[in-house]
């Protein structure tokens, strides 16, 4: 909530009047601290070297997953039983037994709220902390972290695991990339198949090329006159950045190894499950292990489709209960629990912040289709590692799961907390002119 420990005295002189006021406003006056006193605190070291943002695109039903309401009327409750977790008093539905058994490794927030009712707009809010309109579009949390960090060992600082830019049937999430920080901080896009084959569209454009044939970037560009057009077809605005990232990978076999899931044992790969999301989750672990600061692990586009004839993950306007029990929850339960275990086994938990959430919740009242529709006023997130205190339950929803009973936590606080844990203190954020007005989610730290 308040990030007084993040101010750096040496930067006071460079803080403009407006940003100074913004800083001052975030100081808890009740503590009796003046802004100057707060600024004398030593800079905070990043607790999270890397971030994995698990984006449950489409928006999962909170009532049917991590915020069950077993005592609600049948038109709200849904058909699934509740099960105990390892956290006293915390119950999930029976669809997530493995995650429930690992609740001592994460904290949960049940009082998120957003203002955006549609997927692309809510997606932008979820990934940037701000509304899409009026523009300009703010940067993705990953782009902010990427700008603060540098590339590591030839790997991009921000990788988004999906098949192309995440979008719904109509349009993409405008907040997918660099926004006001520029397209230089767009993510490198990489897709992963259920068998673990990795596809990097920008690298695919270089089929037939190799470092021996391509001595320098300029020459490569000359040989690929149609690259911009091809990238446009894939939905990129930022072909230069993706092109450069792919080029770096092309020239760096060691970096490319991070994408090679065949280097993992069969047992490890099986733990995650041979699904797109499962193998993508394993890829995320390999990428943070290799030093990538920010990985956005998208549940869709398109890991495991689908509503028939439609795709974007958790958007279950039809067959909500069937899709959750047959596909989405078993796939998520297996992959996410494996990710938590694997990070732990590799000694990466403390240095890797894992955040899992969708862009909003789903209607607590069951729809005419016996499903659930969009519900921005209340949803959940899960936070693990990277400086987060595990085993906490932050916020709560009311007895029907319709509204938070505590102060709503908006997407901006999510991004601010991620940035804080990744080493971007308040002053740094001010200097970068990002996440303005955001506060850290106090209860997580």
């Amino acid at each position: 909530m308040f990030d007084i420990g993040s101010f750096r005295a040496r930067t006071c002189g460079t803080t403009g009047r407006r940003s100074f006021l913004r800083l001052a406003g975030s100081v808890p006056l009740a503590l009796g601290l003046s802004p100057l006193a707060a600024m004398s605190v030593e800079p905070r070291r990043p607790r999270a070297k890397s971030v994995i943002f698990v984006f449950l695109w489409g928006a999962p039903s909170h009532l049917d997953t991590c915020d069950p309401k077993p005592d609600a009327p049948s038109e709200y409750r849904g058909p699934f039983s509740s099960i105990a977790t390892r956290t006293p008093g915390l119950f999930f539905t029976e669809l997530l037994p493995r995650i429930a058994q690992r609740s001592d490794r994460f904290s949960i927030i049940r009082s998120h709220a957003t203002t955006e009712p549609g997927h692309p707009d809510a997606g932008t809010a979820a990934l940037t902390g701000f509304k899409e309109l009026p523009g300009p579009v703010q940067p993705n949390f990953g782009s902010i972290v990427a700008k603060h960090r540098s590339q590591h060992g030839g790997l991009p600082a921000f990788i988004s695991l999906a098949r192309g830019v995440v979008m719904d049937s109509g349009r993409r999430i405008e907040g997918y990339g660099g926004g006001t920080l520029s397209q230089a901080y767009d993510p490198l896009l990489a897709g992963c198949s259920a068998e673990g084959g990795v596809d990097i569209p920008a690298l695919r454009l270089m089929d037939g090329l190799n470092p021996l044939r391509v001595r320098d970037r300029a020459k490569l560009v000359e040989q690929l006159d149609d690259v911009p057009r091809a990238l446009d077809r894939l939905g990129f605005d930022s072909w230069n950045r993706n092109f450069q990232s792919a080029y770096d990978l092309l020239l760096n076999p060691v970096a490319r190894q991070a994408f090679d899931l065949t280097r993992e044992s069969e047992a490890t790969r099986a733990r995650y499950g041979y699904t797109v999301f499962g193998q993508s989750s394993l890829l995320a672990r390999r990428l943070v292990e290799a030093g990538v600061p920010y990985v956005q692990l998208n549940y869709s586009r398109h890991p495991e489709a689908i509503n028939p004839g439609f795709e974007f993950g958790w958007d279950t306007h039809l067959y909500n209960f069937e899709l959750l029990q047959d596909q989405h929850c078993p796939i998520l339960d297996r992959a996410f629990s494996a990710l938590l275990d694997d990070l732990h086994d590799h000694g990466l938990t403390d240095q890797t912040l894992v955040v899992m959430m969708g862009e909003f919740g789903r209607t607590p009242r069951i729809s005419a289709n016996s499903s659930r529709d969009h519900w921005p006023p209340c949803y959940f997130s899960i936070w693990s590692g990277g400086g987060v205190q595990p085993g906490r339950v932050i916020g709560a929803s009311d007895k029907l799961g319709e509204y938070p009973t505590s102060a709503p936590i908006p997407p901006l606080m999510v991004g601010t907390t991620i940035a804080e844990l990744a080493g971007l203190d308040t002053q740094t954020r001010v200097e970068m002119n990002v996440l303005n007005g955001g506060h850290v989610i106090d209860g997580l730290l």
Binding site: S74, E75, R77, G78, P79, F80, S81, E94, P97, R163, S169, A194, E195, E266, R269, A270, R271, Y272, G273, Y274, T275, V276, G278, H302, P303, E304, A305, I306, N307, P308, G309, F310, E311, H317, L318, Y319, F321, E322, Q325, D326, Q327, P330, R334, R365, I366, S367, A368, N369, S370, S371
Partner: protein, 304 residues
Amino acid sequence: MKRWHDPRFAAELARRVGRGFVAATLVFTVALPALAAEPVALTRDGRFKLGPVFAGTGREVVYAELATPMLYRLMRLNANDGSIEAVHPDATTSELDPAFSADGKVFAFLKTVGTLRVNLEIHERSGAKLGEVPPGGGFSGMRSPAVSPDRQHVVYSFAEGGRQHLFQVRVDGSEKRTLTDSRGINNWPTYSHDGREIVFGSSRDGDFEIYRMPAGGGDAIRLTHTAGQDIRPKFSPDGKRIAFTSHRDGNAEIYVMNADGSSPQRITESPDRDDYPEWHPDGRQLVIVSERSGKFDLYLVALD
């Protein structure tokens, strides 16, 4: 009931199953120890699968497979030679939830006809279309069709008004009737061998439990009473037993109980998901989908 650790399992399995599955298991188990005490894998591709059903005899299994991230395709496993082929190779939209009459002559399935719009199609085995049930307005679609043994009716699940009921139509899609009138979700109906009863899953009393009722609708008798999902019930070919999936022990496993709900017994035991039981026509085996080793494949499970 289950004999995972019985060293005579493989020999007994070979004796019991039909010739076709002997061939299939030989094809797929050559690398297994001769006395393997595990369910026998029938597929090895590992792709996501749903709802296997026998196509009338024990020689063909039809199931839905997630062929691409955007497409469910109906696949046919030929147990004689282990070959697998698409039922409708030219299908460009998703098809799922296959169902056959007991003699295999009538075939029902779901077919996507638009964004979140799913048709119920009813065909002759030859492919000729007998009838269809189109979705309602907006997002709409059926689930879980089953064909009556006399090939006259199809029962299915459909949501409207916030509840999900069972409906029955004639095979030409006409004379739609509502069979249930309860709270919650009613799903996964299947007929008894004589066509007089339907067994199904319902959340009318809270979580999913198994119920049976007259095929034309009426009072339902609750057969299970456990915490956790009890779903996807299937009458055995002789109507004396019901196989189903239950989460009562913490994850999805296959159970078999008597048709009156008595003596439920756990058939599978795996930390991974075992689901979608389907009786072999001989009544001595089940085909299931299991997620063992993180992959989704069809397995054959022998019963006493």
